[in-house]
Subunit: 132 residues, 4 copies
């Protein structure tokens, strides 16, 4: 599991008084930084490899300004060229949101998907989600 | 169907060169303004009624800076206190993203869900999604 | 003067109940779209020309969700390679925010500033700010 | 000086390939969290006290995705009810952006400014900016 700490910002709340729902996908993407780095170690957007295909979010509990949150990111399934992630957001040890994201390993120059290389696959397998 | 025109902003793109995937939920929420207004005609956050329960997005085609997009918002299903929306985003007449959002009609003061009032229900029925 | 209409989004408010102050620079940049188009008519980021050097904002009055705003963008000064803009944001005919932004006409490939071409200069002169 | 570490997000870049200029005010506001906490220790927006009056940013050097940044926040001047901050953003020990923000200590219920209380004033004085 990858863990990412995020400190909520005033600009991420909304008039209702909690973190706005559109902030959640932004935080979940932030939690994928270590995975993006596996595919593009130099962080160059010319060599960007991860294209999102779909995602979903379940909003379980309000998230408040004033207390840090933790993003937990697991690998759910590694396909030939696709990668499914499962993610959870905790605040004060309460599960507040969860979701899935499906990515494809894509070559922007050739405009086609490519198999996920074996060394990356091995590293991703260290972060597989297992139901306990 | 509710239609909302949005002009993409430079700040909504990312280094890969297209509109960032996290911008899509922001635009989809913007497309729900006419529905929020039905439930809270004075736009006051103290009387806010619509709480999001879950949502999903399918990313079908890249969206570019420099050309307007249209959000199309339909009512998919009206439950007792819940409301499911179906939404599509078009750029240059191409379907680029689609998704669902599930809301509950919620009383923040009483902290409980409430039935969707009949006059609002009737108005929402004018925007039901029908497969042609 | 360039005029841009913007419909405030729930995600642009904050817990205090108004449009968050960090939304203002985002809207002001959105108001510069017609100027960006003058310098990069094909909207390609490879040919991007306008690099921001500094900006300021005066917050004069709260902006509310539920009512459209208008961004008014003037050219304040055209230097050899620099361009100073003056911008105002109105809601319900009330001036709510104003600010300046200084850009330089920059060649990203050569990594140096370049004179603003005469045809663009002429077009910009149509939008000069004059104290009445 | 208050120090805040921020890990840049893909969604905070733009098509030109760097962190978008509108992200900077968002990060600077994030750097003010410890100051907001002084004025509103329970983080409640009903008791929010800090209203921004004006701000400016100088963009000195591009900021890149892939490397952490540090926000440094100083108190520049403490007035009767006003508070001026000076802020810098560093990436890889390079000063990339700097700016000022002017706040007023405001009572939202009474809709009027109020003197900054002495205990807060004393704490703020520990973070005064001194030219070395």
């Amino acid at each position: 599991m990858y863990r990412t700490h995020i400190e909520p910002r005033v600009s991420e709340t909304d008039g209702v008084g909690h973190i706005n729902n559109t902030t959640i996908p932004i935080w979940l993407e932030a939690g994928r930084n270590p995975i993006f780095q596996l595919f593009t170690p130099d962080h160059s957007f010319q060599n960007w490899k991860m294209i999102i295909i779909k995602m979903n979010v379940d909003y379980l509990s309000q998230i408040y300004y004033g207390s840090g949150v933790e993003i937990r990111t697991w690998v759910k399934r590694i396909g030939n060229s696709s990668l499914e992630l499962y993610e959870e957001i905790y605040q004060n040890e309460r599960l507040c949101a969860k979701g899935h994201a499906l990515y494809v390993h894509f070559n922007l120059q050739k405009q086609k998907s490519e198999p996920i290389p074996d060394p990356i696959r091995k590293e991703l397998e260290n972060h597989l989600y297992h139901i306990i």
